[in-house]
Symmetry: C2
Subunit: 466 residues, 2 copies
């Protein structure tokens, strides 16, 4: 822009609006576009409100609440046997596949097409092929459904390691595709998720799942999957100290727990939701209210924010990068009816978001997206039923949480009556955006649209349909 | 703007952005700012997704999904006895009070302060005092909590008519303030909600609740509340034909049902959610899937869209106006575990929104807001539990809905185990905006902020704290 034009623009108030993302890129070629995608597994609106009430108070604000753009994500899942027919409740495999690849698939599938089992290219693979930095940071095993969908292609999410590739009972009500045989290397497949991570071009992968890499690789009884990763150039680390001392360069695989990483919080003394009891006279006896406390199992586990910080430092070399960060156990703790676990894991996400926003503020070429993959079971309900006078109470598992602001919050888990775990639910999930391209995020999207939004911001070419 | 400045602006791409709302108003004084607020009672994200799956399909779009601005609303409720302490689940009285007056109050209160019972001025009263048009259109009784909070001031939402003002059993677990005595005219109050509507300056009030106006007015045994309304200048109508033939001018009270208006849809043959049964061998027997069908009780009831159309025509006289339209029975049908009732009422809201958006497109000085007052019980869940192989199923009331696209959707109601009705839930609710001022709506608001957004758009002066 000429000085004269700039003066006119200033007079007309144009300066405040700033250059468009496209102008910015062409004007400053060193500011290569970056995407940081933060996923809260199962982080629906109930989860966010429950966590806010505890962490910031009913009138308080999470960092999440400060994001300037809000949207809603329509989840799509299809039936394996007839992909023209929808299913209304998703799992983390098919939803992460939608985000990572832009396709809609059946429950349990990892970056593969429904019915036809073709590989769908992922945003991480496209970014790596373009010479961009790539990173995956999660609190689950790095082989779990969400991270797997960004880097691997298998028909069934439980094909996590060489040991789980052997034929198992496939009569599984949940996952349409539940057979790993086509993915065995011996059958011309790419092997288990762990083996595909070991063979990948991802620059930095941090999370749990060490035991999946300690197994002998398929067809190579003398080598572990970890050995394959090392042979492919990965430095393998496993402690918070190693994470803190991480130097840039090469590739890093950080495995900080045998499987899912421990969570930060639990109910006081281990309290969780329980079935409402009845006294001898039939009257409802509600469970005692409890507060949250640090989970001793967490111990020296590196926080999600520390892992995300390390990944950002690692990737911040001037190139474009694609970083996916997931707080994985919001979902897992909700399945297990542990409200304080959920809240603590949403706290981890919110703390991570804070440092990501600081990074993005200093690097305006960064698009930050925060979303969930699917809805979960936990419901914020009255701490005593409105019909308590008629002896009514939750028919499911119920917790009463004593919040720091001096009130009691009811959390209900009642999607099924098993004593094992809750089901997912099917509501749209939230999407938040920050950064140069945030205003290009529509107010309502389909989950598979997220792929296109990221591909466009990074200037990648969308792949042909698989 | 001068021609030269306009040319420069055009060159710099300013034209596309258009004038700011303030510029627009000052440039065209005849385009008086207008607000159309649409409330879906209990319309949380589960309700919207359930309705979309049925009405438009899993990949389809509601009119709601086309709105350009999306936000999220944090609900606030306080304890009557100590308003410094929050409650985490709200009712329609305190939430509508937040929207209508900008204050935060306790459950059951209608535009009055918690503990101190002072009247809080409503947006309708401020608009009427400024000489603007005012309208209320609902499918509940016009004396129900949501509409009441825009036009009346009582301590307790059930103080709806002279008959309900007499002392009743106030041992009510739900509503903190549950005594009408201070609101009796004999005690210096303003009387019941119906009497306050009859005495109001609202230009057009349409909905149900005829029986509340057929009662003798307090202290005037020879006059009904309806007589008071007529004496105050209201034309009272009661049929769809009268609505269709409505002429502008004066004030109109349209009462199209004795209390809540019938709903448009029901489950086939009257089917609704039911408890899951167990066969003699203990195996789960899921309820039969059903589709939705027109509810014969609906008969000649005027649709919400027709009432909204009539109100818009009535108010569209060039002045500013404040119109509130509520699809009231999304909540009521969800309380009653009737998923097709919910879906049909959300359909009514979506059809109404369509015509409101057409109006707003032709009148760009109109701000359209769509929101819910609080979350509800219905959950979109798997149509067979993911643990069905272990004989797991909903512990509450459960429905399997056969959708037009050939799939089955599970809807679960399990906030309490009474056979009467569900409780509300406490999650943030959605907010959608359209129109000139829509971009001024932040991505996250507190419910009481909606009042300020409307006050500012209408150019009204915010009242002092009550």
């Amino acid at each position: 822009m000429s000085k004269a034009a700039a003066a006119v623009a200033l007079l007309l108030g144009l300066a405040a609006a700033g250059p468009s993302p496209a102008q910015q890129r062409s004007a400053t070629p060193t500011a290569a576009p970056k995407v940081i995608l933060i996923i809260g597994d199962g982080m629906d609106q109930h989860q966010i409100t429950i966590a806010r009430n505890y962490l910031a108070g009913n009138s308080g604000r999470l960092t999440l609440d400060t994001l300037p753009v809000r949207s809603s994500v329509q989840i799509q899942t299809v039936v394996e046997e007839d992909p023209r027919v929808p299913e209304y409740v998703a799992d983390s495999a098919n939803t992460a596949t939608s985000i990572a690849t832009g396709i809609v698939t059946s429950t349990g599938r990892i970056a593969t097409t429904p019915g036809t089992d073709r590989d769908a290219p992922t945003i991480m693979e496209l970014a790596a092929a373009a010479g961009f930095g790539t990173g995956i940071v999660v609190t689950s095993s790095v082989t779990d459904a969400t991270p797997a969908s960004f880097v691997a292609h298998v028909s069934y999410r439980l094909c996590e390691s060489p040991r789980t590739m052997v034929p198992t009972n496939t009569a599984n009500a949940v996952f349409a595709a539940s057979d790993c045989s086509a993915d065995l290397k011996a059958n011309g497949g790419k092997g288990s998720i762990a083996e595909q991570i070991a063979a990948s071009r991802i620059d930095i992968v941090l999370g749990g799942g060490e035991r999946n890499f300690a197994q002998p690789a398929e067809g190579e009884p003398d080598k572990t999957v970890r050995d394959l990763a090392v042979a492919n150039g990965f430095r393998v680390i496993g402690t918070a100290d190693q994470l803190a001392g991480l130097k840039r360069g090469g590739k890093v695989l950080g495995l900080f727990a045998p499987s899912t990483m421990p969570v930060q919080w639990r109910g006081a003394g281990g309290a969780q939701a329980q079935r409402v009891q009845h006294a001898d006279n039939g009257r409802v006896v509600l469970p005692e209210a409890f507060a949250c406390e640090p989970d001793p199992a967490y111990a020296a586990t590196p926080p999600l924010a520390s892992m995300a910080r390390a990944a950002l430092d690692f990737l911040d070399d001037g190139r474009s990068f694609m970083l996916m960060v997931e707080s994985s156990s919001i979902d897992k703790q909700s399945h297990a009816r542990r409200p304080c676990g959920q809240i603590g894991e949403l706290k981890q996400l919110d703390e991570t978001l804070k440092l990501v926003l600081e990074y993005a503020a200093a690097h305006p070429e960064t698009l930050v997206l925060v979303t969930a993959d699917h809805s979960q079971a936990a419901q914020l309900v009255p701490e005593t039923s409105w019909l308590a006078g008629l002896n009514a109470a939750s028919p499911g598992y119920f917790a009463r949480i004593r919040t720091p602001e001096g009130a009691v919050m009811g959390v209900n888990y009642a999607t099924n009556d098993s004593n094992l775990q809750e089901d997912h639910t099917g509501a749209d999930v939230p999407l938040f955006a920050y950064g140069a391209a945030a205003n290009e995020v529509p107010a309502a999207v389909r989950q598979s649209d997220l792929f296109g939004i990221m591909v466009r911001h990074l200037g990648l070419e969308a792949p042909p349909a698989p």
